[in-house]
Symmetry: C2
């Protein structure tokens, strides 16, 4: 399996585009994106667990109930959530796009990201759709990735190439990160495309299984947004034998999907609002996977640890503390902790107690941009990884006065 | 019931003191505190739920297993946690104090707050105990409150006077706040004294019942420390009929205790690390108390909302979002939200959707130092309050480079 260029257009039959249609005032910022598959594709999706759900999620859920979709439309600048006409707007977005593309309205995935509770007008979107559709191109992934950005500072695109029964397949994805956007809406949107042939229910199984270990293990600030959504479109144009059950091909597909999603997780976490560092918490030696996950997430979510990482302070006490209150049943006396980065590894805690270590070396390790927090529980074989970022002055600045 | 002066020395028979013994390098900072009751007192305590527990908690638990204590000793500057000789040190602190006071070692409550995982020496404490005991005084509450401070910026003392069966009783307390101290240790320590006569098991019942609505509803940054402890000593010197069961006196005692603990919660929250504002989230109209609590805590813990409050930004979408992911079963379409402070109230959300409001007035309301976030769920009669503070640049500064 190789990482390749092309993002969501890497897979055969997918084109994309992104334009400025006027939802955002800044004309240099794209605010409307489109992904299109030449042929109807199997579609799977997962949605935020927040009880407050954006209207586009409701509409998308209905549209893809049959397991098929052919296009994705997504605007930034307004979350289309907690406003009276949300569902109506999302339906209009879908039907206007369907008409322009000559596809079924029910084959449109619709998404929005931006401020919550703001009235939304269909006007700019209706006006933007012709140019959006006309401009569809095979190298449009970057434009589409731009159109869904909000407080993101970098475009997020990934693609991989792999084989299924001798056929070359591709999976690509774009994401908008957990910069919290306007309020805390639309934290995360991920759109994935593949030319692999796979039945909708197997695609859903692959996605649901994957996100438990990937997007559900990312935390920027513990706030789960109302508009989170991950969708996959699989159009089958790679010509592989359709995956309709578990087996070798399904496993290979899962692995390729996981490669894409893990990279997107890392991109999302490292571009968290105000972040200066990517934190990767790797828990090993757990008695079971749930314990490993609980510990990893608790550590990655600790404001105290996040602030310490910002300060390149090897404050391992905060790691132990976060493990202790995680709710996981662990034997504190068996825990080892180390910090690792490109320059090296420094062990800071052994059997639940501090070890002598060089503060100077620790500082050098922690001054890097990507930090691994390694936790060995010495109680079994299960492991888990969680991704996050440091807590910085800029997080406070961005969120202290974003809306006004 | 009246608020009175005197803190932990307000109740009859209690004296206190605080000295600098040398655990902390800064000679102007007290680092060892003592509370003493003339006679053995009923004692109750609650401890952190963190699996990583400070050694003093283990020792205290053993000492007060019989429901009796007569003195409290607490140092700051070292949490005596995750170090090899923790229990030994805590025992030594207790026995040295007991000897100096002429009481039983088993009647000593011992506590520590400060850096985790640092070797601790008994030397400074042993050297400090004579002066600590000699200086015991009836107006020593402030000194004792000072001796347990770490990153706290204000001393925290409260006392109330009330009557039980015609007898004047007093309850007072001191606290060290949820400035996270050195790493994240000893977040919160609360020592309460009263001259009311009450059996240990009823005292424990009162305390355990109370903290569910008070200290367990305070969050500064979601990190639960390893050294949290709340203890109450009741020496009976007020001469009231001993409370040995539920009834009118127990209810009156609970009410007085609650007045003290709520004030301490407010002091702790408003003095959270880096805090510029006290946030009080009041949830009403919940179907049951657990729902109200879950919602209140989720909102008060939202980093996004906390940052918005710092910026005096009436970003009600973040309130709804935090309710939505709280896990509580609420009807989003029924939720009303308002912000209230000394200058007035501003309604921002009605039936789960935004209402037109003046951003200018909202700003004026939110620029105050104490902000109430009022959430009406319109689904029942249950209510709950949670306390917290805003998320500021100073929180990041304090915790980004505290240890080194």
């Amino acid at each position: 399996m190789n990482l390749i260029q092309g993002g969501i257009c890497a897979a055969k039959g997918f084109s994309a585009n992104g334009v400025h249609c006027g939802i955002r005032k800044n004309r240099t910022k794209k605010d409307l994106s489109l992904i299109f598959s030449e042929v109807p594709a199997s579609c799977a999706a997962v949605y935020t667990t927040n009880l407050v759900k954006g209207a586009p999620l409701t509409v998308t859920k209905r549209h893809i109930a049959d397991g098929t979709a052919q296009a994705v439309i997504c605007n930034s600048g307004n979350a289309n959530t907690c406003n009276a006409n949300g569902v109506e707007i999302a339906e209009q977005m879908s039907s206007l796009l369907a008409e322009a593309l000559g596809i079924r309205t029910d084959d449109v995935v619709v998404a929005s990201t931006g401020v919550i509770g703001q009235p939304m007008e269909i006007g700019p979107i209706a006006a933007g759709i012709p140019a959006l559709v006309q401009g569809l191109k095979l190298d449009g992934s970057a434009d589409a990735a731009e159109g869904i950005m909000t407080t993101d500072t970098i475009k997020k695109e990934v693609a991989v190439e792999f084989t299924l029964g001798g056929k070359t397949c591709r999976i690509g994805g774009i994401a908008k990160g957990s910069g919290m956007i306007h309020p805390n809406m639309a934290t995360m949107l991920v759109f994935i495309t593949t030319d692999a042939a796979i039945m909708p229910q197997m695609l859903q199984k692959a996605l649901s299984g994957d996100i438990a270990n990937t997007f559900n293990m990312v935390s920027i600030d513990g706030d789960t947004s109302t508009n989170d959504m991950v969708t996959v479109l699989a159009n089958g144009m790679a010509g592989n034998a359709v995956i309709d059950s578990e087996g070798e091909d399904f496993t290979a597909f899962m692995l390729a999907l996981n490669t894409v999603t893990v990279q997107l997780c890392r991109l999302i976490a490292s571009d968290g609002e105000g972040a200066t560092k990517l934190l990767e918490c790797k828990v090993t030696g757990a008695s079971d996977v749930q314990t490993a996950k609980t510990v990893a997430k608790s550590v990655i979510c600790s404001s105290l640890l996040k602030a310490a990482m910002f300060g390149a302070d090897a404050n391992w006490g905060r790691v132990l503390c976060a493990i202790g209150y995680s709710g996981a049943a662990v034997d504190v006396g068996k825990i080892d902790v180390a910090f690792r980065s490109a320059v090296g590894t420094i062990a800071v805690c052994k059997d639940g107690a501090g070890v002598d270590f060089s503060e100077e070396i620790a500082k050098t390790v922690l001054l890097e941009k990507e930090i691994e927090i390694l936790i060995e529980l010495n109680s079994g074989d299960a492991s888990a990884t969680a991704w996050g970022c440091d807590l910085t002055y800029d997080y406070v600045r961005i969120n202290g006065d974003y809306r006004t």
